[in-house]
Symmetry: C2
Subunit: 555 residues, 2 copies
């Protein structure tokens, strides 16, 4: 009897990531309790990731929750660890498939509510609000949020107790001993849970490549305050729209230098409103309208805005292009990029910075001064976390394969004997016994294409990728009842170099005329012959073969 | 009389960058001597830059040398400062337009020769080889190469003497006091030139954002030697194909640990061959064939290969995918990325590293240890350079606008009173007087698309970008002599979500049927009405408007 069979009908705890163990972003982790035949599921987070040039025309990628939707009768619901897009961004779109309870803290509930209203499902979704440290139950899962420090309010780790084992799901976290907002990192509770005995720690791997400890937000606040105190021109601070703590620090820096604050960007205004409803930003004071930039002295104003990732429609991008309706910056003004550039956005961020530089604006980034600190644990914090929790098994999450592998290696080097590297859509048994991959769920991932949700592998992006490489040629062949061309072949091309059209049409006509009479009767045959010759001729002239479509019209 | 008019017919020295002052890469700087009406031109470098997702299907972008080609009667020729692709990559392709002499050092001549052979122009191009420190003349330009340290052999700055002024064109450089290959940085000659009096320093800006001094290649060599000495499994080192000094250091590290060396990648083998012809790598010994990987012990072998930028067809990428014909790596082996990741390549490099991690291979990058040092000057080196040369004017080159601006600011802070920030295609007067932009040259840049050279702005890439966002719909409308549809409208779509076709065709038919009889006679009108309705219907269903082409066939 091999290891896989031994546990086949065992009461077990399994983990199925639908996203988050292969690429950064799109987090979605499903825990299953009980034997395979009657397994009850719990979903932790349901995020999106943003598309890139590999999938042209796709802005958002979502996990495929079809497997859980099919098992909806044994699905206890969704728990949200925090309100970042890569943890909540797919909830509103995919909830109609899941129709489940959503459990989260008050701040996440506020931001989710805005999304539910946008999708017209606000009155349908049952949202249950919980406080850290107060246990709650979902099906066979006894749960508790534990407060951590991270770059959005009310970030939590999740304690998952089942009859089969105890899991600590870390969510996104860092250890900040001097946070500037929120309940802080609950070291005491983590130590208590460690004393209870943790079977499995499922843990953030984002910054596992980095040594040492993350700087505290307090240090970032001090840097910002110092820079703002010494600035003589206008100041713009761009950061993540959801980073309420950073927004708070920037506003304090402005206030202490006697500057008024203007907020630009809908997402940032939404976050601020949600934060205020939850009791944050109480001492931040009122914000001015954008037109204050026109009449206040240069040294009496600060702009707080979105666009730190180079988003082309965000305020700071439009300011760089000098076409923002209300706000202009010029020689002697300063823009602080209080954010890291997410890998893949380097060119976009560079483009915005180049535009600002061309205007004569000075730019300050995290490369120049401590104007940003990541919300994820470096090696020193991971080591402390292990010491608090002393888990039997470490499962790295939130990362690309190289991060997951580095995390597993690091955990082993710190004395955690068992580690398991997972891949999206694999089902791993966490308890009992030695953790291992036992099965695989069907499905992959989804694209949000325009307003439609389509398959990520065989959807339209795949075909557009081909079009983007070599364009398309479309030929209309009108054939009369004698089997002759009733008129010249009509060729319409898009995305190919000019000047080839006549040669291609001529090649197509010649190919038709060389076809035996018998073959000309079969539309499919005519299409195939012409397509082949046109693509070959393109390759001769251009060195590329475009997509080629042929329509036969018989008259 | 304003400043511009004052010098209109003056004997002057001008600079026209065709590339290199707006984006990193594609360097091409044209110096002009004499009054506008009889100006004589000199071109320094003629490189390419690599395309990115903004221009789908474009691998290579070239400068537009049309303006110089038109003035070929007063064109003294091309000087190459060093053999990197962003300085020589366009020579073979554009030489037929220029038909000029090419002046360079022996090593650049070797690499150029390979390109000329590939393009069948080897026996046509007059190549003149020069040694650093030995003056030569091209038209009104008295020139001299001065040896610098950089990441390819025989990199040179260029002294340009004209009756109108003395320019030092830096090329790419750093100050490495302990280089591991080549003639080194000729501080003495730069000091002498400084004593003669430098009117204008045109200077590399790549690393102006970085403080301090660059580490020496000697330190990189020591790190590599140490890592290789302690490694127990196989080692692969991936670096830039042209970095002969790094190749030499890696080979020495291998030799001192008793490891044989295998070279993979055509570009790297070409460089090594060229280097050996020029007297470099004499003590590197022989390299083994790839199949040595199969029979030598794991700790007796090192692979040196291309692919450090994530190029999908390079050796290290194929090894990561576990489908290299001769070379496999596994758990316990080590890959050293002895290169920086060029901005824009982060995802590609990450993908290769993820594949290697999945195989269980350890990865070491410049983030982990000093396995790479840039070939460009940091602030400390720039400051030394200014001290040697004491230029009246600093013109920053090699950089995006933010680098150029940072360089101008830095130079000012170090006492250089005049700086001028240029843009590609602008003509600046350098001497006499205060430097300023006086004119603009026609032209832009070119795309290599397949094997054709096309316009970069209005060429096929622009149209493919549209296709890549929202696909294309083709409709064939067959109309009989009564003005009625002779058959159902034929709709062929590519790159749009499935399931919309029937609705779109139906909308098109309805639109046609609703057209007044008189309007149906005009093909252009029919096309426009149907195109509009189909795009609107697409927008309704999908939220995107594809390209739409309509063909009317009258029977």
């Amino acid at each position: 009897m091999n290891a896989k069979r031994k546990f086949e009908n065992t009461d077990e705890l399994v983990l199925l990531p639908l996203g988050g163990t292969g690429e950064i972003g799109m987090n979605c982790y499903c825990y299953g309790a009980g034997p395979a035949s009657t397994r009850e599921w719990l979903m932790v987070d349901l995020g999106v990731k943003f598309g890139d040039e590999r999938d042209p025309g796709i802005d958002v990628i979502l996990p495929d929750v079809g497997f859980i939707a099919k098992n909806r009768k044994r699905f206890s619901g969704l728990v949200i660890t925090h309100a970042h897009e890569d943890h909540i961004g797919a909830v509103a779109r995919l909830w109609p498939q899941l129709k489940c309870e959503v459990h989260c803290t008050a701040f996440a509930a506020e931001l989710l509510k805005l999304k539910f209203i946008e999708h017209g499902i606000d009155d349908m979704v049952p949202v249950k609000i919980h406080k850290p440290g107060v246990p709650f139950t979902m099906g066979p899962f006894d749960l508790e949020f534990i407060s951590v420090t991270h770059s959005i309010p009310e970030s939590c780790a999740l304690l998952i107790e089942t009859p089969h084992g105890r899991v600590l799901h870390s969510g996104d976290w860092k250890i900040d001993r001097t946070p500037m907002l929120g309940a802080g990192f609950d070291e005491k509770r983590f130590r208590e849970i460690g004393d209870l005995g943790v079977d499995v720690l499922v843990c953030d791997s984002t910054n596992v490549m980095r040594e040492g400890l993350s700087p505290s937000e307090k240090d970032v606040a001090a840097t910002l305050t110092d820079i703002v105190a010494h600035a003589k021109g206008r100041i713009a601070v761009t950061t993540f729209a959801s980073h309420v703590e950073r927004i708070s620090c920037a506003v304090k820096a402005a206030r202490s230098a006697g500057r008024e604050v203007v907020i630009a960007g809908r997402a940032m205004r939404n976050t601020i409103e949600a934060a205020r409803k939850c009791g944050y930003l109480k001492d931040a004071g009122a914000f001015l309208d954008e037109d204050a930039f026109g009449y206040l002295p240069r040294d009496k104003i600060m702009l707080l805005c979105t666009g730190s990732q180079g988003e082309p429609r965000a305020a700071i991008a439009r300011i760089g292009e000098d076409n923002h309706p209300n706000i202009a910056l010029e020689e002697g003004d300063l823009v602080i990029f209080s954010a890291r550039t997410i890998p893949g956005n380097e060119k976009e961020v560079g483009a915005v910075q180049n535009n600002l530089a061309t205007l004569g604006v000075d730019i300050l980034t995290a490369d120049d001064a401590l104007v940003h600190s990541s919300g994820h644990p470096r090696q020193g914090e991971l080591e402390l976390f292990y010491q608090y929790l002393r888990p039997r098994v470490l499962v790295p999450m939130h990362g690309e394969p190289r991060h997951l592998r580095a995390h597993a290696n690091f955990a082993k080097s710190k004395g955690i004997k068992e580690t398991l590297i997972l891949e999206d859509m694999k089902i791993a048994r966490l308890c009992p016994g030695v953790p291992e991959i036992i099965d695989e769920a069907p499905g992959g991932r989804l694209h949000l294409d325009g307003k439609l949700i389509v398959d990520a592998v065989d959807g339209p992006a795949k075909f557009r990728r081909k079009l983007s490489f070599a364009g398309i040629v479309f030929l209309t062949v009108v054939i009369n009842d004698k089997g002759e061309l009733a008129e010249d072949i009509i060729l319409i091309a898009d995305g190919i170099p000019e000047g080839m059209e006549d040669d291609l049409a001529e090649a197509a006509e010649k190919a038709y005329e060389n076809m035996p009479r018998g073959k000309r009767k079969d539309d499919g045959n005519v299409e195939e012959v012409i397509r082949t010759i046109v693509r070959r001729e393109c390759d001769n002239i251009w060195g590329k073969k475009p997509v080629c479509k042929v329509v036969v019209v018989r008259v």
